[in-house]
C-alpha cells in the first residue's frame, strides 16, 4: 500500500512526519488528514481569536498532494441590540 506523510501545524508547533501511514487510496489519506483537524483543535483551543490548524499530505515521492485546514475566528461584539 502507498505511504503518505502528514505534516501538521497548529499555530504553535509544526510537525514534519518522517514515519508516514499507509492508505490504499489517496481518498483515504484525505479523509485521515481531515479527521486529524478537529483532534488538533480540541487539544489547542481555546487559544487566540484566530487559529488555523492545517495538514499537508506528501506522497511517497515527496510531492504534496493535499492541504486541508480548519480555521477558528472569534471576535467581541459591541453590544448590538437584537
Amino acid at each position: 500500500m502507498p505511504r503518505y506523510y502528514f505534516d501538521t501545524d497548529d499555530g504553535r508547533r509544526k510537525s514534519h512526519d518522517d514515519q508516514g501511514l499507509e492508505y490504499a487510496h489517496e481518498a483515504e489519506a484525505r479523509d485521515a488528514a481531515i479527521r486529524a483537524l478537529p483532534d488538533m483543535a480540541k487539544d489547542a483551543l481555546p487559544g487566540a481569536d484566530r487559529e488555523t490548524f492545517s495538514v499537508s499530505v506528501r506522497d511517497d515521492g515527496g510531492r504534496y498532494v493535499l492541504h486541508a485546514s480548519l480555521v477558528l475566528v472569534a471576535h467581541r461584539l459591541e453590544g448590538f441590540e437584537q
Partner: protein
C-alpha cells in the same frame, strides 16, 4: 510460567507457598497464539479462563461501521475472561496484538482453586478491582486529557504494569502496537497519533526503536502527563504508584 501473575498478585495479598503451588498448577496447558488473532469474540461463551503469560493482547469492541475501540491492554499476568467465567458470555472480543503465550484454565480448575484458598479468591478479586481502576483512569484520559498527555500516560501505565509483573526491569519495554491501534486505544485519529508521537520524540519524552518504547526520564514523563500510578494499587500506601514506578524495586 505463572511468574508474572504471582509477581502481580504479590502486591495484593501475601500468598502462602501452598497458594503459589495452586497457581503454578494453573498454566500447564499453554498455547502460543500468533499476533492479530481473536481469541474469543463478543457473544461467545467462554469454555476456559485465559491467562496471558507473555506478549500483548487487548479487549476491543466494534461498531457496525468497522470502527473499533480498544478498551484495555492485556499484559503478562492478566486474566482475560474471569468475567466470562462468572457472566456466561463475552460482551467484548479478546485478541492478541503480538504473538502471545496464553494459558487456558478449565472452569473446574478455577472452581477448585477458589474453593481451596480464600487468599487466592481475594487476590483475583484484587486483580479485577484494579482492572476497574484502570478503566476509570482511561475514561478520565479520554474525556479530559489532551491526546499528547493521554499517550504519555499510556506509556507510564504500561511501564508500571510490566514492572509490577516482573516482565520488565528497566526503563524500556516492548510495545508492539501500531499507530492505528494506538488511535483505537486513545480514541483519536491515526494522523493525530502520528503527530503526537513526533512531538513526544522531539521533546525527548520518549524514544521509539523498532517496536520498543524507551522512557529516558520517567519522572519527567510522569510530570508531563500527570501520571499518578496510585490507582494501580501496587502497594498499600500508594507510594510506589506516585513516586517510584521506575525505581529498581517497589517500595512497600
Amino acid at each position: 510460567m505463572t511468574n508474572a501473575l504471582m509477581e502481580k498478585l504479590s502486591s495484593a495479598e501475601i500468598l502462602t507457598a501452598e497458594d503459589r503451588q495452586l497457581l503454578e498448577g494453573l498454566s500447564t496447558v499453554a498455547q502460543r497464539v500468533p499476533a492479530g488473532q481473536d481469541l474469543i469474540v463478543e457473544g461467545e461463551k467462554p469454555r476456559h479462563t485465559r491467562l496471558f503469560l507473555s506478549g500483548y493482547g487487548c479487549r476491543y469492541k466494534g461498531l457496525a461501521s468497522g470502527e473499533r475501540s480498544i478498551t484495555s491492554l492485556l499484559l503478562p499476568g492478566d486474566f482475560c475472561d474471569l468475567n466470562g467465567f462468572v457472566l456466561g458470555y463475552m460482551d467484548h472480543t479478546i485478541a492478541t496484538i503480538s504473538e502471545c503465550d496464553v494459558a487456558e484454565i478449565p472452569p473446574e480448575a478455577m472452581t477448585a482453586l477458589m474453593a481451596d484458598s480464600p487468599r487466592v479468591v481475594r487476590a483475583l478479586w484484587w486483580a479485577t478491582l484494579v482492572d476497574d481502576a484502570i478503566w476509570r483512569e482511561w475514561l478520565l484520559n479520554m474525556g479530559r486529557r489532551p491526546a499528547d498527555q493521554q499517550l504519555a500516560h499510556l506509556f507510564c501505565e504500561t511501564l508500571a504494569r510490566l514492572r509490577a509483573s516482573g516482565t520488565v526491569r528497566g526503563q524500556d519495554f516492548p510495545f508492539p502496537l501500531t499507530q492505528e491501534q494506538l488511535a483505537d486505544v486513545i480514541g483519536v485519529s491515526t494522523v493525530h497519533v502520528n503527530r503526537i508521537l513526533q512531538r513526544l520524540r522531539g521533546e525527548e519524552l520518549v524514544a521509539l526503536e523498532g517496536r520498543r518504547v524507551i522512557i529516558p526520564d520517567p519522572p519527567r514523563l510522569a510530570e508531563f502527563c500527570g501520571f499518578d500510578g496510585a490507582y494501580l494499587h501496587l502497594s498499600q500506601d500508594g507510594f510506589w504508584g506516585r513516586r517510584g514506578f521506575w525505581e529498581k524495586e517497589p517500595v512497600s
